[in-house]
């Protein structure tokens, strides 16, 4: 079983881009998106993010569980926080009054046009960030991860550490799997039971302890192997060269413009305030 992010977007338009573009695009997009509170503009950003994601041609069947997890997690986070836990709504225009539909039984929290809109906007924002970010894991050649970050100014040792993380996820997962099997043949049952989180964690100890102990022991060998090939003792060459072509520059310019545009719009227009669709306002 391979748990590592794989190069699923191999050969796609996005995978042909200089990987620095993918990293910088995410940075620009995230900083742009966090300034936008108008749900109409957020829909535009979402469309842009999904167009970007589509261009990576990541097969849906390979990532559907990831998407499912993301949607469930974000839904719980956003709707739990935004609707149930609090009646307060940020980013409303000055003097705006909330239009309350009802109060939740027991909790007493209000459900209003404003906090529903707030939650929807947040949900769309997080979804767009995931869509724009997912190609980082699946559409960058694992061979150029280190050099990508090194060329973005990250020190070589740290840049290579990123490479190394991807490299060892499958090994760690394989060790985990072996330990899991070793405990299963001792009658360990991993079926979920309705006990508390502490009890559940304690049940995982027979798997966690050997996996971690082996990982630490293995890390010592890996460090030795790297030392013996001169790692970290002087200036380093990166075999792979990165070059921004005309398309890369154009794409990068587009994302920089997006960031600048969102920032300017935040000051000059109402895009940094929540926009409540008229049909949601009762009466």
């Amino acid at each position: 079983m391979n748990f590592a992010p794989r190069y699923l977007g191999r050969g796609s338009w996005l995978a042909q881009r200089d990987p620095r573009v993918l990293v910088l695009a995410v940075v620009c997009f995230v900083f742009a998106a966090i300034q936008v509170w108008d749900v109409r503009l957020m829909l535009v950003l979402l469309a842009l993010a999904f167009a970007w994601y589509r261009s990576a041609r990541i097969p849906f069947r390979e990532v559907r569980r990831l998407w499912l997890f993301a949607i469930v997690f974000i839904s719980l986070l956003v709707f739990g926080n935004g609707i149930i836990a609090s009646g307060r709504v940020q980013r409303l225009p000055d003097g705006w009054e909330q239009h309350i539909y009802l109060y939740l039984p027991l909790l007493g929290s209000p459900i209003s046009a404003e906090n529903v809109t707030f939650a929807i906007t947040q949900f769309l924002r997080f979804m767009s960030m995931i869509a724009i970010g997912m190609p980082l894991a699946f559409a960058i050649d694992p061979e150029v991860l280190g050099v990508t970050f090194a060329r973005l100014g990250v020190p070589s040792r740290f840049a290579f550490a990123i490479d190394l993380t991807w490299r060892f996820i499958p090994s760690f997962a394989a060790d985990f799997r072996t330990t899991l099997d070793a405990q299963r043949v001792r009658g360990m049952d991993f079926a979920p039971r309705s006990r508390g989180p502490v009890a559940r964690l304690r049940r995982q100890v027979p798997v966690i302890v050997p996996t971690v102990v082996n990982a630490i022991a293995g890390a010592e060998d890996t460090i030795d192997a790297m030392d013996l090939r001169g790692f970290g003792t002087g200036p380093r060459t990166w075999l792979r060269e990165l070059r921004l072509d005309r398309t890369d520059r154009a794409v990068l310019a587009g994302f920089v413009l997006l960031l600048v545009g969102a920032t300017v719009a935040g000051f000059a227009t109402s895009s940094s305030y929540l926009w409540i669709p008229p049909f949601m306002i009762p009466g």
Binding site: M1, N2, A4, Y7, P142, E143, L145, D163, L164, W166, R167, P170, S171, D175, T178, T179, D181, A182, Q183, R184, V185, R186, G187, M188, D189, V205, P206, V207, I208, V209, P210, V213, N214, A217, G218, D221, T222, I223, D224, A225, M226, D227, L228, R229, G230, F231, G232, T233, G234, P235, R236, T237, W238, L239, E241
Partner: protein, 567 residues
């Protein structure tokens, strides 16, 4: 004589947390073009010697060091590791931990990149080295997807990229099938012939001799017990500690009868086990019917049919990645077949959980550290029985029985000792005790000799066979002699299919098929063919030598039914 690449003078080293020196007063020189074999039992100081030569001592492993190690004419203590790396390349024992690149090219480039070489030079070297190491077909692949044998060759190629003057190789044969191991030794020999030096540490001395070493350093308890040519080494090495060619064992026993074991000629396997083929009307302990299975869409077993009896000792042999371990995983439902049926005592396994199957098959994994987690040996042993709901009033009896059957009761305070503080050999026995605590009639052993020297591997197998109450044992191994000496039946695997199934004599009778499965014809196989009659059980080297010297052997060369290589 050319200036030595490495010179060690009066080296004594004690690790910071060690109570005794790991090396004592070692003197050694390695010259260009020389192959030096370093042999000795586990814990004799081989790994410490390697660390001293490649500079990890003193740069990464602090401790008390006396004497000097010079590489390229300068003391290692005065050089940076990257400077030493230009002279000494090291291949560690486990390639999976040595490979740091996500792709084959990235792995090959890693060393030269660290040394700041020009890109054009790195690319040129990748071309040369991949051709020399025979890994051109691997270029472009992700390292996580490589097999064990492919990883070993890639790790070796990663060292070749640095073009060091001395290659230090730590037990390169440990995880390889004999033919792949032979390919690696061939590469090392070529390097030596081209003027490089090779320092190889290896338990499998018989195979390492194929490398035609110029000298052998035999370490014992940190001291150089012998340093000289191969014939001299073969006269002094302890046949019980390192695996020597059979003729050497025989000569040693002839010269010093005290070395010979007393159980001369006694088959290594216990008597009650069957050597007969399983009758077709008798339910098998384990039966595979057209089983197909694999990982991530890649089929590994391609329709396996086999019946393993409840009184068999079955050894599964075959090349790396041929599906040997997958077969056992399928039997335990750790991997579900994509087609076919697996039956245990006549019942399909789909009706039974892994836990239920564990009461029939005690599965002993290759590395005991993959399962040990509890604070005490007692708790470790009771983990399985508790999972299976054994009543608490039986717990003490279960622990006592498992410890007694594995000989662990001799260790003082064993029940309360933390498992991870035991030695590797003791952990292996504890892993066996853990399996026995579930009271299974059959054991499954995955690579029982891996990570152990000749003496401890042999002792472990003898301990397993001496466990009272066991009905059958199924094992996967690369150790041909171990399989032939202890098994009543051999399953020969190749590319996910069984290509031979029968008694050891039957299976090794076809030499082409045997070598076609990447297996080696060992000196012990030839000797058994020579000295044992048709149908007589295969003996391990010590037992056969004693048998021959006791005058109980006839020369069976050329007889019908005599095993491989007998003419």
């Amino acid at each position: 004589m050319a200036e030595p690449i490495v010179r060690i003078e009066g080296l004594t080293f004690r690790y910071r947390r060690g109570t005794e020196p790991a090396l004592r007063e070692v003197d050694l020189e390695v010259a260009p073009g020389e192959v030096l074999l370093v042999a000795g039992p586990s814990g004799c100081g081989k790994s410490t010697l390697i660390r001293a030569v490649n500079g990890l001592i003193p740069h990464a492993y602090p401790g008390e060091l006396h004497g000097t190690v010079t590489v390229g004419g300068r003391p290692t203590a005065d050089q940076k590791l990257r400077e030493i790396a230009l002279h000494v390349g090291t291949l560690l024992q486990d390639p999976a931990r040595q490979i740091v690149g996500a792709t084959v090219e990235a792995e090959l480039a890693f060393g030269p990149e660290n040394l700041g070489m020009e890109r054009s030079e790195i690319r040129a070297r990748i071309g040369r080295v991949s051709k020399r190491a025979g890994i051109e077909p691997l270029l472009g692949r992700e390292t996580a997807a490589l097999s064990g044998g492919e990883r070993q060759l890639l790790a070796m190629a990663g060292i070749l990229m640095l073009e060091p003057r001395l290659y230090v190789v730590d037990e390169p044969l440990a995880n390889l099938d004999p033919a792949t191991a032979s390919g690696l030794l061939h590469v090392l020999r070529e390097l030596a012939d081209a003027g490089h030096a090779v320092l190889i540490v290896e338990h499998r001395v018989e195979e390492a001799l194929d490398l035609r070493p110029d000298r052998v350093l035999y370490l014992d308890e940190g001291r150089a017990a012998y340093l000289g040519d191969v014939p001299g080494f073969l006269r002094v090495a302890d046949p019980a500690a390192v695996k020597l060619p059979f003729d050497v064992v025989l000569e040693r026993f002839r010269a010093d009868p005290r070395l010979a074991p007393r159980d001369a000629g006694v088959p290594a396997r216990p008597a009650p086990l069957s050597t007969e083929a399983l009758p077709t009307d008798e339910p098998a302990r384990l039966e595979f019917r057209g089983v197909r299975a694999g990982y991530d869409g890649r089929e590994v077993l391609h329709g396996v049919d086999a019946r393993l009896g409840s009184r068999d000792i079955v050894a599964v042999l075959g090349p790396n990645g041929s599906g040997k371990t997958t077969l056992f995983r399928t039997a335990m439902r750790l991997l579900e077949p994509t087609a076919g049926d697996v039956l245990v005592d006549g019942r399909p396994t789909v009706d039974r959980s892994v836990a239920e199957l564990a009461t029939t098959f005690g599965f002993v994994f290759q590395s005991p550290s993959q399962m040990l987690f509890a604070r005490t040996v007692r708790e470790e042993l009771l983990f399985g029985p508790r999972n299976l709901g054994r009543p608490p009033e039986r717990h003490d009896a279960i622990v006592d029985d498992a410890l007694r059957r594995t000989g662990l009761t001799d260790l003082e305070g064993i029940r309360e000792r933390p498992p991870l503080t035991l030695s590797f050999g003791q952990q292996k026995r504890l892993a066996l005790a853990i399996a026995l605590a579930l009271e299974p009639p059959t054991l499954m052993l995955d690579e029982p000799s891996a990570g152990q020297d000749h003496r401890t591997a042999r002792q472990f197998m003898r301990e397993v066979l001496a466990v009272p109450g066991l009905e059958s044992i199924y094992l996967v191994t690369h150790d041909v002699d171990l399989a032939l000496a202890y098994a009543t039946r051999i399953l020969l695997f190749e590319a996910g299919m069984i290509v031979a199934d029968g008694s050891p004599a039957d299976v090794i009778g076809n030499e082409d098929r045997w070598t076609g499965c990447n297996l080696r014809v060992t000196s012990l196989m030839r000797a058994n063919a020579q000295w044992r009659g048709p149908g007589e059980p295969f003996l391990d080297a010590e037992a056969l030598a004693a048998f021959v010297l006791a005058g109980r052997a006839g020369d069976h060369r050329g007889q019908k039914g005599a095993a491989v290589g007998s003419t």
